[in-house]
C-alpha cells in the first residue's frame, strides 16, 4: 500500500515539468512534423501525407547551398567565439586575483545583454556603412582611398554580428569550468617543470573541455537557427536555413517551411550528437 502511494507521489512530482515539456516542446515539434507532410497550392494548404515537400527540398541545389552557407557561418563564428571566449575566460579565471574584481568584470561582459539583440545588431550599420564611422576614419588616416564595400551587407558583417552577439555564450560556460579547476593543479604543473604554455595545453585545456563543449553547443545551435542577423547584416543578400524557413512562412508556404525546419532540427541534433561523442559534459550539469 505504502509502496503504491510512493509510486503515485513520484509521478505527481514529475507531472508539472512533464506537462510543460509535453505542451511546449513535444507537441509543437510533433505538429511541425505532421505539417511537413501536408500539401500546398498557391492559395491553400491541405492535410495530406505526401513527401512532395521533402522531395522538392532535397532535389533543389539551393537547399545544399544554403545549408552549406549555414554551416560556414556556424563554423567561422564558432572558431572566433571560442578563441575570444577562451581568452576572456582565461583572463578572468586565472589572471584576475580578487573575487570582487572577477565578479565586476564578469558583469561588465554582460552589459551588452541589457539591450535587445536587434538593437545591438543595427547599431553596427552606421559604424560599418559606406559612409560610416569605420570607413571615414580609415580614409582620414589615409589607410584607404575609397570606402571599403565589404564592411557592411556582407559575410563579414554577418559574422561580426554573430561573434558580437554570441561570444558571451562561450565565455560563461568556459569561465564556469575554469573556476572549478583547483589552483594547486597549476602549481603542481609548475612544480613538475611545465612552462606556462605547457600548463595551458596539458592541464587547463583538457580540464576546460566540458565548458568548451557546452559553449560550442550554445553557439552552434544559435547560429544555425538564426535568420534575423543574416537578413539585417547582409542586407538580404545572403541566405541561411533560417531565412529559407522565414521566406516560406512569408509566402504562407507552411508545409514547405515545416519540412525545412524538420531537416534543420535533425541536422542540429546530429551535430550535437557528434560533439557529445568527444566530451562527456554530464559532470558539468
Amino acid at each position: 500500500m505504502q509502496l503504491k502511494n510512493r509510486h503515485i507521489l513520484g509521478w505527481l512530482e514529475a507531472a508539472p515539468l512533464a506537462m510543460v515539456l509535453l505542451g511546449f516542446l513535444i507537441a509543437p515539434i510533433v505538429m511541425i512534423v505532421i505539417v511537413s507532410f501536408w500539401g500546398a497550392t498557391e492559395f491553400s494548404i491541405y492535410p495530406a501525407f505526401e513527401f512532395d515537400n521533402y522531395e522538392f527540398l532535397f532535389g533543389s541545389p539551393v537547399t545544399y547551398r544554403v545549408f552549406g552557407a549555414t554551416f560556414k557561418y556556424a563554423f567561422i563564428t564558432w572558431a572566433l567565439t571560442l578563441a575570444i571566449g577562451f581568452t576572456v575566460a582565461y583572463f578572468l579565471a586565472f589572471h584576475v586575483r580578487s573575487l570582487t574584481m572577477q565578479i565586476a568584470l564578469f558583469l561588465v561582459c554582460t552589459i551588452p545583454f541589457w539591450t535587445s539583440n536587434i538593437i545591438r545588431m543595427i547599431s553596427w550599420i552606421p559604424f560599418l556603412g559606406r559612409n560610416g564611422i569605420a570607413n571615414q576614419t580609415l580614409i582620414s588616416w589615409g589607410v584607404i582611398d575609397e570606402p571599403l564595400e565589404w564592411l557592411l551587407y556582407s559575410d563579414f558583417a554577418v559574422i561580426l554580428a554573430f561573434v558580437h552577439l554570441y561570444t558571451l555564450f562561450m565565455v560563461v560556460p568556459i569561465f564556469n569550468t575554469m573556476m572549478r579547476i583547483d589552483k594547486s593543479l597549476l602549481e603542481a604543473a609548475r612544480d613538475n617543470g611545465a612552462s606556462g604554455f605547457q600548463t595551458l595545453v596539458h592541464v587547463i585545456i583538457p580540464l576546460t573541455k566540458p565548458g568548451i563543449m557546452i559553449g560550442t553547443i550554445f553557439v552552434v545551435t544559435l547560429v544555425m537557427g538564426d535568420f534575423i542577423t543574416v537578413r539585417f547584416m547582409s542586407g538580404s543578400q545572403r541566405a541561411n536555413v533560417g531565412r529559407l524557413i522565414s521566406n516560406d512562412i512569408g509566402l504562407l508556404q507552411y508545409p514547405s517551411a515545416a519540412a525545412t525546419a524538420v531537416v534543420l532540427l535533425c541536422t542540429v541534433l546530429i551535430v550535437i550528437a557528434i560533439l557529445l561523442r568527444f566530451v562527456n559534459i554530464r559532470k558539468e550539469l
Partner: protein, 328 residues
Amino acid sequence: MGALMRTGYDLELVHLTKRYGDTVAVRDLNHVFLKGSYVCLLGPSGCGKSSTLRMIAGHEDVSEGEIVLDGQDVSYLPPAQRGTAMMFQNYALFPHLSVRDNVAFSLRMKGIDKQKRHARANELLELVDMTSLADRLPAQLSGGQQQRVALARALVTEPKALLLDEPLSALDPFLRIRMRAELKKLQRELGITFIHVTHGQDEALALADEIVVMNDAVIEQAGPARQVWAQPRTEFVARFIGGHNVVALPEGKATVRADAVTLGEDGIPATVTAVEYQGASVAVTATTSGGDEILALLPEEQFFQSPKSPGEAVSLCWDDGRLHRLQA
C-alpha cells in the same frame, strides 16, 4: 643527529622573510636543514610554516633573504630548477590523467619519449606499491592511494629535498598512522631531506629527526624531537607540544611533565575537574587554589588503587628535580 655531517647538500635559510603588504608571515628565518634528515615544521595555523615551505618550493616569492640548496642560492629559480619537489596537501593529482601519466608528467614536460617515461614511472609506482593501479584515474583511488601517487610524482624528478604540505591531514586517523610509517620508511630508504609541515605534535614527534617549532612568523625552538619535547625552551613550545604543565615559580616559569605529577599527601592542594581514562594511563585534570590547571598522567594501576572523581580534593606532588626552567 651527530651522525649527520654538514655537507654541500644542506638546505639553508638565510634571513628569510615574507611579507604580504604590511603583515609579516615569516620574519628573518635562519636555519640549516641537514641533508637526509626528516624535519617537521610544527606550529599552529597562521604561524608561517606553510609560507616558509612554499617559499622553499618556489611557489611563493621571497620578500627578503636567501634559500641556499647545495651551495647555490635558489631563491629566484623556478620550482622545477631548484632540486626540490612538493607534495600538495590535497595531492593535486591531474584528474584527467591516469596514475602512470600523472607520475610521468614532469618527464613529459621535459620531452622524454613515451616508452622511457612510462618505464621510469613504473619504477616509481613500484616503489610506492601502486603498480597494479597504474591505469586508473585519480578519482578511482582512495585517499591513501592518491597520496602514494602524489609521492611517486614528486620523487620522479629526483629531488634533493621533498617538501610535504600537511600530507596526512586529508586522511582518516587510522590511515594517517599507517601512512606516516610509510613516509618515514621511504625517507630512510631514499636518504633525501624531507621537510614536512604539520600542526599535529604527535605526527611531528613520530616522524621527525628534527622538529622546528614556529609561532608568530619566527622559529620558537628547533632541535631533535626528544630534546624539543623534554626541554621546551618557551611556554608556547611547552603548551603546544603537549604533555607539560607550566607552573609559575618565584624565579620564573617552569614546566613539569604530566607523567611526573603524582597525587600524594603533602603537595599543592587542588580540586579534580576532569578524569579521562586513556587505557594504559589515566589523565586527571585538577585546578589549584591559584587557578592553575595541572594535568597529571597516572599509570592506570596506580590510579585505580585510590580512584578520584571530579570535585574531590587532591594534593599534587612532584619531584623538584623534574622541574624544567623556561627561558620565556
